[in-house]
Symmetry: C2
DNA sequence: ATTGTTGTAACATATTATATTACATCAATT
DNA sequence: AATTGATGTAATATAATATGTTACAACAAT
């Protein structure tokens, strides 16, 4: 089981938009060359980020920019933007209701797994784009 | 993105094995009727649980039982048994090495995501089969 | 008008999860 | 030794999802 790479790709996009905002027009083609995926993937992802209110995209002329400070955008925001808001875990739909395990496992195990999911989201909320940009700047400085 | 239902199914199997150990022979057909999946799915999952040392299966005659106390089996054990031991998140393989974001994002973001994964596993370790059996028994008693 | 861009539809491909059938093998029992 | 009910596993089918790609209409600046 793996998460799709939508979260990493979306994060990469946002970081590039901010990192290069004064040097380049951050078009889907430009971003695609850094991430190394098809520009259409970038446009679709930008569409999700736009719908989530994280970026604005200049129609026609092109280029994207953040709508708020990198310190105010967390991985949680990005995750919510690009992943379906569905159950992280899922259960066999129709366990046997005549079995005491079958008719109770969904709620009993579900409660525990929901806690796991909440912790994961809390971890995501702790990381901002500004944190990541700082780490990247540190790497750059060390090169 | 969703986890497959292997973790819930495997947990369901283990709970049934323990809950019904004194009443029924817990064959793949019996377990399949509680979980409501094909018996072959049960056998494959039992194979994974057996490989992980959590159960032993009686060849020929049939039936499975736990190899240790339910208090000593955690969701982490079950998760490790049935999910590939791979990266939880995955990255675009070949980001542009000429871009400072592209060449550093894997390690910078990867570090953060690895922490998220470690927290998830730690959460799994906190839940034992005995906990779940107790919750189910409480539900049964309240019915 | 031309240009470069976005937004989106349509389609292709690969991977994974799950379901199902079939059958060889096994161990206990008769 | 034959029967029985079970496991282990291969082969295959189906569906869902992720990703890649082409194509093109709409758009905004020049």
């Amino acid at each position: 089981m793996q998460f799709s790479f939508r979260l990493p790709v979306a994060t990469h996009i946002l970081l590039c938009i901010e990192r290069f905002k004064d040097e380049y027009k951050t078009t889907s083609t430009f971003l695609a060359s850094s991430v190394n995926v098809n520009p259409v993937i970038i446009r679709k992802t930008l569409g999700q980020l736009k719908a989530a209110g994280l970026v604005e995209v200049a129609a026609g002329v092109g280029g994207a920019k953040l709508t708020k400070s990198p310190a105010d955008i967390t991985l949680w925001d990005v995750f919510q933007a690009v992943e379906e808001d569905e159950e992280l875990f899922h259960f066999q739909e129709n366990p046997n209701p005549k079995c005491p395990v079958g008719r109770n496992i969904h709620v009993v195990l579900g409660d525990r797994l929901e806690e796991v999911r909440q912790h994961m989201l809390a971890d995501f909320q702790k990381v901002t784009l500004a944190d990541l940009l700082a780490s990247i700047a540190a790497k750059e400085a060390a090169e």
